[in-house]
Symmetry: C2
Subunit: 314 residues, 2 copies
């Protein structure tokens, strides 16, 4: 967490898009603490304790809380409040956590470490890990429906519709399926790689951004603009992830590295090389920031987050 | 399907609770066909085809469609229409199918057959089966939010809240966790066994019944009455399932039998014996039917379904 804020702070120092008086470090510290507190309260441990402990083990394992923060930032950007968006912000992290738990299973990527800790199934077993993922996914929808206040029910339903689409076969799962089918293939096209990551990574980032705007009842033109912002940073995020998989050390990244190479997966660096990959990520980040042009000073967190994606080292 | 309708028809002949002029066979044929048609249309196969085919393989694998039919019947009972309840009815079957796919995985019950066909992971592999379950669960919520028409948004949100609770740690998954923890134990209490099945089986049946009533904006007293009806038939359903696991043949049941004994699972027959188990199931079915006393002739399907639970042979 401290390291993360330090990195964000360094990015602020480097970028010229964010006004000098905007304190990104304070913004992120505040928002991250609010999300952690909301997540902490979202899931009390009751009987049968094992399932709640397993869900909490992964949900409270830290991480950047990027999706919740994007949701809160966008809601405020278009005139809403943190309170209106917080249940959805928590739900996004529950869904993201579910996807990580299931992705790490032996039947999937078979990862032993995640965020520097043993993966869920290494602690609780494959059966409990499968169920913890299912329960987090179901709870995400329940949580949005149950806890969202001062938002018209129609807007809450629209958020639920978009969340479902972003995580299902038309989103994250669809990307994972194509990813699985591409393993060991040496001829994966850039179109297929884009499909994988537009769905596996960008879809959930996109709904994080868009849901915040939907909750604050933004105009459809604004929603489309923010959707393009999110898709661009989503793809950039994945390109940088691929780059980091090659250039980082396990200690820095907090998870097993070099997995892509081991699994003979096509990556952006394997198609474009490292330098071109970095350049493409920068182009996408610039395009993302261009979408934010019409907005006022409240766009600063979204600009800084876009910059952070290409500047991060882990 | 034909065998199922035959069984239902036989039950109609045996029971005295249902008026002689109520044609259960026609009712079930009609409702089941409507559900099948709606499910058929709910999930077109698009790119990436594998995930949609895997989802459809299990979703369209037949079965009793008990949950959707309960939902439609209850919605009509309290003055709603089939059209209002159909998206939720489909979602219930998607959720039920998800739970079966994940339950059959090698990391869980490790079942090779379900409804007389190879289980999902035997056809598509464990990874795709995990993802197909995830996608069905997410799609269920999307489907309710997206497709439900002529119902106040607040009522749709209440259905989503209840669906999430019924399938998550406070419902189905919670029951499965206690079930897993009880395997191989010889001292499982009747309270623990009731907890398992009130959550693993009855919770989803309960929300099937209650969601139909919520969509038709039933009074809270009516919803509570229908909730008790559903919990009683849910527990009775499981007791009869345990009995059938011992007394049926694989051909009749369409799935591997004797699994409970092999897994050293506590069952109602293992605690109460076969005769007492059957008697308890009958008592629960009678209690369920008693809850329906205030309703008019539209209660007939619910009465007949309650009777069917104790009379069925598979």
């Amino acid at each position: 967490m401290v390291q993360l804020i330090h990195n964000f702070f360094m990015v602020t120092m480097m970028t010229t898009d964010v006004a000098a008086d905007f304190d990104l470090k304070t913004y992120l510290t505040t928002k991250c603490a609010e999300v952690e507190a909301a997540l902490e309260q979202s899931l009390p441990v009751v009987y049968p304790e094992t399932i709640y402990e397993s869900m909490r083990y992964s949900l409270m394992a830290g991480g950047k809380r990027l999706r919740p923060i994007l949701c809160l930032a966008t809601c405020e950007l278009v005139g809403g409040t943190v309170a209106q968006a917080m249940p959805t912000a928590c739900a996004l992290e529950m869904i993201h956590t579910m996807s990580l738990i299931h992705d790490d299973l032996p039947a999937m990527d078979n990862d032993d470490y995640r965020r520097g800790k043993l993966t869920n199934h290494k602690i609780y077993g494959d059966d409990v890990a499968i169920l913890a993922g299912d329960a987090l996914l179901a709870y995400a929808f329940e949580f949005v429906a149950d806890r969202t206040q001062n938002v018209p029910p129609k807007a809450i339903l629209e958020v639920i519709r978009r969340l479902g689409k972003a995580v299902g076969a038309a989103g994250l799962v669809g990307g994972q399926i194509v990813d699985l089918a591409s393993e060991g293939k040496t001829d994966t096209s850039i179109e297929t790689l884009n499909f994988i990551h537009m769905h596996k990574t960008a879809a959930l980032l996109e709904v994080s951004v868009v849901a915040g705007a939907v909750l604050a009842e933004a105009e459809s033109e604004t929603i489309e603009r923010l959707s393009r912002y999110a898709q661009n940073i989503g793809l950039a995020f994945q390109i940088v992830d691929d780059v980091l998989d090659i250039t980082s050390t396990q200690e820095e990244l907090g998870k097993s590295i070099g997995k892509d190479v081991q699994a003979q997966k096509a990556t952006y660096p394997s198609i474009w090389g490292l330098d071109e990959s970095k350049k493409q990520a920068e182009t996408l980040v610039q395009a993302a920031k261009d979408e934010l042009a019409p907005f006022g000073t409240l766009k600063q967190p979204l600009v800084a987050i876009a910059d952070f994606i290409t500047a991060r080292t882990h």
